[in-house]
């Protein structure tokens, strides 16, 4: 089954030459996740291996409609292809976690919480790419698309936090736990709240907003991988 994942790595690299290969990469990763789901009998979104695959597939899939709007901008597709290949390689480094889920994780609230979180992380990543493109060659389309990607991601991330809070209340009797993951999640949410409000001010529009969009993805990566690997938390990932 890992062959599907390894093939998706190749597909993302080939997408550097023919952009249609990105579709193949997404389909291979979705097929891999479906196989794992049927094998495990649960949503395969526990631990770094599965979550990185899901995050990569989402980022590549979300880049497709945005890529169509960025007609003629090869750099966008290239950055997405290279980063998708790199994240797939990272996923291959980690062992898949095949153990059964503890009873508290077997709930709609947990599954939706995780799915929405990684979808939003992926969109924040796409937004960061637009930020980079804007800095390279300032054009209002890249900045507008960055804003749109952030707005949708922010909505998904907020929903993920709400679903996580409901799940935590049902599972642990509280909707808030004092752990670094919760705190970094709030940092991320406040940071993008800042971005969305700052953009309303003339001074922040354009370059500063693009920089914020890129910095935000740094916060996303630290919240996702940094906190989970370096700090003690209620979240395994």
């Amino acid at each position: 089954m890992q062959i599907l994942l390894a093939s998706s790595f190749g597909a993302y690299l080939f997408a550097l030459f023919r952009k249609e290969f990105i579709y193949a990469g997404v389909l291979l990763q979705l097929a891999y996740l479906l196989f794992r789901a049927s094998e495990l009998g649960r949503l395969p979104l526990v631990g770094p291996h599965d979550t990185i695959v899901f995050f990569t597939a989402c980022a590549a899939a979300f880049s497709l409609p945005f890529g169509r709007l960025m007609k003629g901008e090869k750099a966008f597709g290239n950055i997405i292809s290279v980063s998708s290949a790199l994240f797939t390689a990272l996923a291959l480094v980690y062992e898949p976690r095949n153990f059964p889920l503890p009873p508290v994780l077997k709930t709609f609230w947990f599954e939706t919480h995780v799915v929405l979180a990684f979808m939003s992380y992926a969109l924040f990543g796409v937004a960061a790419v637009f930020g980079y493109l804007y800095l390279k060659a300032p054009q209002s389309l890249a900045e507008t698309l960055q804003y749109k990607a952030v707005l949708i991601a922010y909505c998904l991330f907020t929903l993920s936090m709400i679903f996580g809070g409901i799940w935590a209340y049902l599972a642990w009797g509280t909707y808030w736990l004092w752990t670094p993951k919760e705190l970094w999640t709030s940092i991320l949410w406040i940071f993008y709240s800042f971005y969305l409000h700052a953009r309303l001010r003339q001074w922040w529009a354009g370059r500063p907003a693009a920089v914020l969009g890129i910095a935000g993805f740094g916060v996303v990566m630290f919240t996702y991988l940094g906190v989970s690997l370096l700090m003690k938390s209620s979240h395994s990932f």
Binding site: F99, K106, T158, W172, G173, A198, V227
Partner: protein, 240 residues
């Protein structure tokens, strides 16, 4: 300029919101690195404000700071929302005008939830054997009638069901079944099973009270409605 008017204008400014959001981000980042050095954060079982007063300022200054800045942000949010409604009521479509204010109201409800929780929440745990009972503060009695433990083919714990009886100060008794992610909720009280033991059959019960939970849920619903409406309106405006 009149100092009161100056304060009013500062509280009405979007720049103030931006500064406050930046300060909260900085305080939370500091807290994320300081917090792991104080293991007490993992076992707060009394109202947060009472707990904070007992801690060394070194490990909780960032949280006191955050509470202060969040208070200012609440006032700022309220002022900005009211001002926006007054100024734009004639020039903007009412849904476009109201959606951001619904989001802001949701945010304020969530802050209120945390404030209420920090002032009056608690939780306690007790291991209770099947067939026995515990008396809770306030005179209520919680009894465990039956414990069922489920394991899968590999012997892993796959679920449990605990039948309880909750007696309200000797007045009336309610029966319920608690299982993972399905606690017994009565008003702002949440009774759940944290763990179960097969031999002898016992359950680790957690009783927690959070007066802010309902406000958090209300705030979440408002925030979601507001942000979804805003996105839908933006999409509709782009199409036309």
């Amino acid at each position: 300029m009149n100092p009161l008017k100056k304060i009013y204008q500062i509280l009405l400014s979007l720049n103030t919101s931006l500064w406050l959001l930046l300060i909260i981000t900085a305080l939370f980042i500091a807290g994320a690195f300081i917090m792991p050095d104080n293991p007490g954060f993992g076992s707060i079982d009394i109202p947060l404000f009472d707990w904070l007063k007992r801690q060394n300022l070194e490990s909780v200054w960032w949280l006191w700071g955050t509470i202060g800045v969040l208070s200012l942000l609440s006032v700022n949010t309220l002022f900005c929302s009211i001002d926006s409604i007054i100024k734009k009521r004639r020039v903007t479509h009412w849904l476009l005008l109201i959606s951001p204010q619904v989001i802001h109201t949701g945010f304020l409800f969530m802050l209120l939830a945390h404030l209420l929780g920090a002032s009056g929440s608690y939780h306690g745990e007790a291991a209770v054997a099947e067939g026995s009972a515990v008396k809770l503060s306030g005179g209520d009695i919680l009894a465990i009638k039956n414990i069922e433990i489920e394991t899968d083919d590999s012997g892993y714990l796959s679920g449990w069901g605990v039948d309880i009886e909750y007696n309200h100060s000797g007045n009336f008794t309610e029966s319920a079944r608690i299982s993972p992610n399905s606690p017994f909720i009565y008003k702002d009280l949440n009774i759940m099973v944290k763990d179960v033991q097969a031999y002898p059959e016992a359950a680790l019960l957690q009783v927690s009270r959070d007066p802010g939970a309902v406000w958090a849920l209300a705030g979440s619903i408002l925030f979601t409605l507001g942000i979804l409406t805003l996105i839908a309106l933006r999409m509709k405006m782009e199409k036309t």
